[in-house]
């Protein structure tokens, strides 16, 4: 008698976690689901009450308009968004910003890991402290500076200011990684005949690759998603895609369907990048712990 009760209790115990997890997954993924669904709806279906979750006829019209393949007819042709331009801007600015962060940040991280000098920890703290401060605090003075330096609404301006987002990340992660590489491996390469530069490129960098890829990827995500700098420090020519999505909201109407489609398209490049990077990182990790 006791035995059967015991079994039933454990059956419930086994199933309950899965139920809870499924519930939570649904809640967490719902916003993404809703955006995807909205992007496939006709304007009419978007704002129905009660909201339609499944029963609507999907359409790709929103995507066609966003990508400039069709024109939005209705409401007097008031709203016209050149989304492709925004996408192009982001695709230019972000990769360049990331490359610059790596080029600037890697040497700093390496020097901090390998050499001891006065004020090293202070400098390190300075880099980290860049994250403590909310960027919005400096935006007004920054705006003025940008105008003075003629950086306003330029690619260069945005690339430079994005370093504020990327550099601390590069220095933080890569310093710790460089410290993990046993100095004796580099010493061995020196003894074997390489110059310091040769050691860095032939030994240190290849070993750092997985970490480097992850760092570059994180920088890409943060830069790509950055909204604040784009909205204040750029105008007509160089607004990134994050700002571009806002354009679908105007006085007369909010083009929800197209905004949703634009959001999905915005997310795609980084998503594709993630899939490629994923493989690289996993492969690199097996090389990681070869100590001794």
């Amino acid at each position: 008698m006791r035995r059967t009760n015991f079994r039933r209790i454990s059956w419930i115990r086994r199933v309950a976690p899965y139920v809870l997890l499924t519930l939570w997954t649904v809640i967490a993924l719902f916003p993404i689901y809703w955006v995807l669904v909205t992007s496939l709806k006709n304007p009419g279906d978007v704002i129905t009450s009660p909201p339609k979750f499944f029963d609507f006829s999907p359409t790709l019209d929103n995507y066609r308009v966003v990508l400039g393949l069709a024109r939005y007819v209705g409401l007097g042709d008031i709203v016209r968004v050149d989304f492709i331009e925004y996408l192009k801007n982001s695709l230019i600015i972000i990769p360049l910003a990331v490359v610059l962060s790596l080029a600037l940040g890697l040497p700093v991280a390496y020097v901090m890991a390998r050499f001891r000098f006065k004020g090293r920890e202070n400098l390190y703290f300075f880099y980290i402290s860049l994250y403590f401060m909310p960027p919005i605090l400096i935006l007004i003075p920054l705006y003025l500076v940008f105008i003075r330096l003629r950086l306003y609404d330029t690619y260069l301006g945005l690339i430079l200011i994005l370093q504020l987002v990327n550099l601390p990340l590069v220095v933080l992660i890569m310093r710790s990684f460089f410290e993990d590489i046993s100095p004796e491996i580099e010493q061995s390469a020196l003894v074997d005949g390489r110059s310091r530069l040769g050691v860095f490129f032939k030994i240190t960098l290849p070993l750092a690759m997985p970490s480097l890829m992850s760092t570059a990827f994180l920088c890409t995500i943060f830069s790509w998603n950055n909204f604040l700098f784009g909205v204040i420090l750029s105008r007509t020519r160089t607004q990134p895609v994050t700002v571009g999505i806002l354009a679908f909201k105007s006085y007369e109407a909010i083009l929800w369907g197209q905004m949703a489609a634009a959001s999905i398209i915005t997310a795609l490049p980084v998503l594709i990048l993630a899939i490629f990077i994923q493989r690289y990182i996993v492969r690199g990790l097996t090389l990681g712990a070869v100590k001794g």
Binding site: S182, E184, I185, Q187, S188, A189, L190, V191, D192, G193, R194, S195, R196, G198, I203, P206, L207, T286, L287, G288, A289, V290, K291, G292
Partner: protein, 378 residues
């Protein structure tokens, strides 16, 4: 091949002295072992010769050429690290070939030559079947051999080995010790070999440097180190089991000097007399006697012999090592393999007077210093 000279080398890390005032001349084509316990400065010394670390003071010369300004990659030395320091992203083949491919002025190896050299060394070290693998997939012993291979594949001016065979099984250790020695003889290479195992040091070295606490306590041939230790530290480090050290008082009667050991008077040998006469050793001397020199017997022996209790007997194939306790002290003696021995048994022990070393209890130096080939080069 070159002569390496160290003059008054010192190295400090964060105020802690790793090497103190070390002066050493390594002859061209010599196999020199640096022997000492962990932390005695062996690795620091090797790294300074390689150029990876700079001495806090002192100078290093290769054939009278000062090495201060010369970077490690220009010194043409090879080094085997205790931690192997293999390149994790390269295969075993590429690891070993790395030094041959690292372009140095004037020296370039063709692909065929690289191939041949790497494979020859791999055969010698029995790692030919691992050439395509990466270090992460190798055992500790295999990794160690790859490190060795990387150093042996070149013909450098000086080769530096830091505990190169510590993690190998017995069969390989014996084989590689022999092979290393043979290679050194054939190539007339100058080799520095650091090890905490005195066995390795005396087996294959031409001369041995005993390093303790960053200071060189003795330099000499293996025989000299064993038979004439210059300090108690050296005596205690060498031998399996190592030399017994005991504190003994010095007494004078019958117009002669005696060591008082466990209530027995042992005549002080002539060579030590002078040193004891000159100085005043009121608080006693440190005496040393090697386990193989101690006479043991189950039957009572005539004085100066004393009874001990057997703490434990260990059978080794060519000897038995007895650990004997006298009161709170323990000494070790080695005897024939068939001795047997029961815990608690009474064993009589005698120290032959002419086999006793005497050391100053404060400086730990041997007494007398006069006819011992002790080298403290300055």
């Amino acid at each position: 091949m070159a002569r390496v000279t160290l003059r008054n080398i010192s190295k400090e890390y964060d105020g802690i002295s790793a090497v103190r005032d070390l002066s050493l001349e390594i002859k061209d084509g010599e196999f020199l072992a640096i022997m000492g316990p962990p932390g005695s400065g062996k690795t620091s010394t090797l790294k300074m010769i390689a150029g990876i670390e700079s001495p806090s003071s002192g100078e290093i010369f290769f054939d009278d050429k000062p090495m201060e300004r010369i970077a490690p990659n220009r010194r043409n030395v090879a080094m085997v690290f205790e931690t192997y320091a293999l390149y994790p992203h390269l295969s075993v083949f590429d690891n070993i070939a790395f030094p041959l491919r690292s372009a140095r002025r004037g020296v370039r190896y063709s692909n065929e030559e690289i191939n041949k050299r790497v494979r020859d060394i791999a055969d010698l070290l029995e790692i030919s079947m691992l050439l395509e693998k990466k270090p992460a997939h190798l055992s500790g012993g295999q990794r160690q051999r790859v490190g060795l291979g990387r150093a042996l594949v070149r013909n450098p001016v000086v080769s530096l080995f830091d505990e190169p065979i510590a993690h190998l099984d017995a069969r390989l250790r014996y084989r590689l010790m022999g092979d290393l020695k043979r290679i050194q003889i054939e190539r007339k290479a100058t080799i520095l070999y650091a090890t905490p195992d005195y066995f390795e040091a005396i087996a294959i070295a031409d001369r041995v440097v005993a390093l303790f606490g960053g200071e060189m306590k003795q330099i000499g041939t293996p025989m000299e180190i064993i038979k004439h230790p210059a300090s108690a530290e050296v005596a205690r480090f060498v031998g399996d089991p190592p030399t017994n050290l005991l504190l003994a008082r010095v007494v004078r009667h019958d117009d002669r000097l005696w060591f008082k050991v466990f209530e027995n008077d042992i005549l002080v040998p002539n060579k030590t007399r002078e040193a004891l006469d000159k100085a005043n050793f009121e608080n006693g001397v440190l005496i040393g006697v090697r386990p193989s020199d101690i006479l043991v017997s189950r039957a009572e022996m005539e004085a100066p012999a004393f009874p001990t209790k057997l703490y434990v007997a260990e059978y080794f194939h060519r000897k038995t090592v007895l650990t004997l306790s006298i009161g709170a002290k323990r000494i070790r003696a080695s005897t024939t393999p068939d001795f047997g021995g029961r815990v608690g048994e009474r064993i009589w022990v005698r120290f032959p007077p002419d086999k006793i070393f005497a050391f100053d209890p404060n400086t730990l130096l041997v007494l007398p210093a006069s006819d011992q080939p002790v080298h403290r080069e300055t």
